[in-house]
Symmetry: C2
Subunit: 380 residues, 2 copies
């Protein structure tokens, strides 16, 4: 095994864990927090709740909510200006992947100056960031665990991957009760995103025993709990999905992803499509493309999906991918690209863009833009 | 599930990873490092190697090696005085559990003043510690991962457990090539220590899905690789033991241990016995005592030891414990307490001391000192 790195934030996990926020922020030196969130979390009452927790402990709170579901570069710059003007000292991100990715972008500019596009790619952040605490409100993005921030460059219509050890927050506070105010659609989209993180990082070129193990845990927990979480909304099942999303986050943050995410970033940058909608469409097709380069591992995933089977490795892998596609169909999500894109006439530039995404580097099988185009056509 | 916390250091793992030391130390602000190690590592050439790596990168290195195999309070104070006098700014611990535990004690005094006994127990460290990088030279103690430092109070003849989030280092650099200079006896003693960490933390009252998963990984890897690591010394098997020890460290650091470690600390404090010799003797007896409070989990361990079995949970657990005892016998280590203690006439004070150890708190079954005495008698 080559030298591998593994870094995760400190974690506080469980029902009611959000109540630990204020003392933790204080431990990081907080006197005035910049809270980054969005309208959905305001409506569900979580933003007021968080503000209340901070204020009770006499920590000032400045609030920034101009964050789209695919956060934009100018929003990051606006948030960073607010952080500076308000003389804040700690950044708290509350939300799904979008507010948390935006909070990471804001922290990057606050600590390093310049424009967010200056940090696109891996390991471009050179100076320290302000302390960060993230509170995920979905069980999917894993952004509260990860070294990734995905920000849309509006001018180029690109979702930039910014990847740095510095983007791992000091602390992630994961409270599964946050999930109780989410729609079933969002729980599914988030769970499938986490599943895609687990699968892509499991077969990644940079996977290590530390990450593979987390990926398999996530795969198993999502398969075991997604149905119940959606149909009964039981807190117990939602909690298991939170554990899965956290494990998948630990895995992909350290092992990287693959061309499924390269394509999802490209599609999201060009058409502003919700990230979680892309994976049920692309993941099975991407897995089939990667099969020759990761047969044993795909069979292991197949065994998780199908249970113990007496059949050759290749066929177990194939059957698993087919069963996964059927599972997505049964969840009622779209599995055709034509349902979320306005046209298939722009697949070439989309795929030429995707093949340059950082996630392509760790894909287990070499991929040309024309391979990605074939994947899109198969999924059309 | 109740609220649970999970904290681990950043990890760099793999053959040759030790070469990352100097840039990592520099990233933490190092200009003059206090290196804590011992005579065994000097002899094996590792101390000179580490000094060389730092000096090549123009980082000064002050060396402290007055560390016994159960590090003493006065050694910690001596090291802390050297840290201060030398105006060092980062602490590097190189070794098995003893130099690393000593390094943690030194960091505690360097950052907080006073005497090391002031910090006995949980969460007594209030001020920040100097940056710490640990390089484990055994696959066992897990001290490079953990919130624990075990220091002997010479006057009271007690091994104190000092437990704090602050004792988790900034970075653990785990290079399995370090294991190649170790004797088979030490590989076994370390591996059994890691196995005991995994088992005790797996059944701990404070176990969480985050820790249980790591514990099971450690159990499986040690069972699968110990034999080969000892007989062939293959780097591949040693690497697997390193992964196991790291996983077990993640688990016990966050879930705590049990009365096996309470007794081991008590025995080690009174008789200066090598920690790794105690577990093959006590672990099976402790597991049998804990069985009524952790039947399902003991059966799960039994399944790891024996492979798939069709038999009732209780009997699977019992058979697993018996097989574990036989495994220890086959490794040629002593499994009787009489072989390592000079007398059984002092078991009462030993057990009265052990029952007050912090590790007793997370034991799955309530234990009185007389229960511990019965365990010692059974193991005599």
């Amino acid at each position: 095994m080559l030298v591998t790195k593994f870094a995760i934030p400190e974690i506080i996990f469980g029902k009611g864990s959000v109540k630990h926020l204020a003392p933790c922020a204080r431990r990081l030196g907080a006197r005035r927090v910049l809270l980054v969130s969005d309208a959905g979390l305001e409506k569900a009452g979580w933003v007021d709740m968080i503000k209340g927790l901070l204020e009770e402990d006499r920590i000032d709170c400045v609030y920034f909510s101009n964050v789209d579901s695919n956060p934009r570069d100018h929003q990051v710059h606006e948030g960073a200006a607010l952080y500076k003007d308000a003389q804040a000292d700690v950044i708290v991100g509350l939300g799904g992947g979008s507010p948390i990715d935006a909070a990471k972008g804001i922290a990057t500019i606050a600590g390093n100056g310049g424009q967010i596009r200056d940090y696109e790619g891996a390991n471009k952040i050179m100076r320290p960031l302000p302390p960060m605490i993230f509170i995920p409100s979905t069980a999917g993005s894993g952004s509260d665990m990860s070294q990734y921030s995905i920000i849309t460059d509006v001018e180029r219509q690109v979702k930039m991957s910014i990847i740095s050890r510095s983007l791992v927050p000091n602390l992630s506070i994961i409270d599964p009760t946050m999930l109780t105010t989410k729609t079933s659609e969002l729980i599914i989209a988030s769970g499938v995103d986490a599943f895609a993180h687990a699968v892509e990082s499991y077969v990644s070129r940079a996977a290590s025993p530390f990450t593979e193990h987390q990926a398999l845990l996530a795969i198993r927990l999502i398969l075991d709990n997604m149905g119940e979480a959606v149909s009964t909304r039981s807190l117990q099942a939602l909690e298991q999905l939170s554990i899965a999303s956290t494990a998948a986050g630990m895995s992909f943050s350290n092992a990287g992803l693959g061309i499924g995410h390269s394509l999802a970033h490209s599609v999201g940058g060009r058409y502003d499509v919700l990230h979680g909608l892309v994976h049920p469409i692309l993941l099975p097709v991407v897995m089939r493309f990667n099969l020759p380069a990761a047969k044993e591992k795909m069979a292991r995933i197949g065994r998780e999906i199908l249970g113990p089977q007496v059949c050759p490795v290749g066929s177990l892998a194939e059957k698993g991918i087919e069963a996964l596609h059927e599972l997505f169909v049964s969840l009622g999500v779209t599995t055709r690209l034509r349902d979320i894109l306005p046209t298939n006439s722009e697949l070439e530039p989309l795929c030429r863009m995707a093949v340059r995404d950082t996630c392509t580097v760790t894909n287990p099988r070499d991929a040309h833009w024309s391979d990605l185009a074939r994947i899109c056509e198969e999924a059309w």
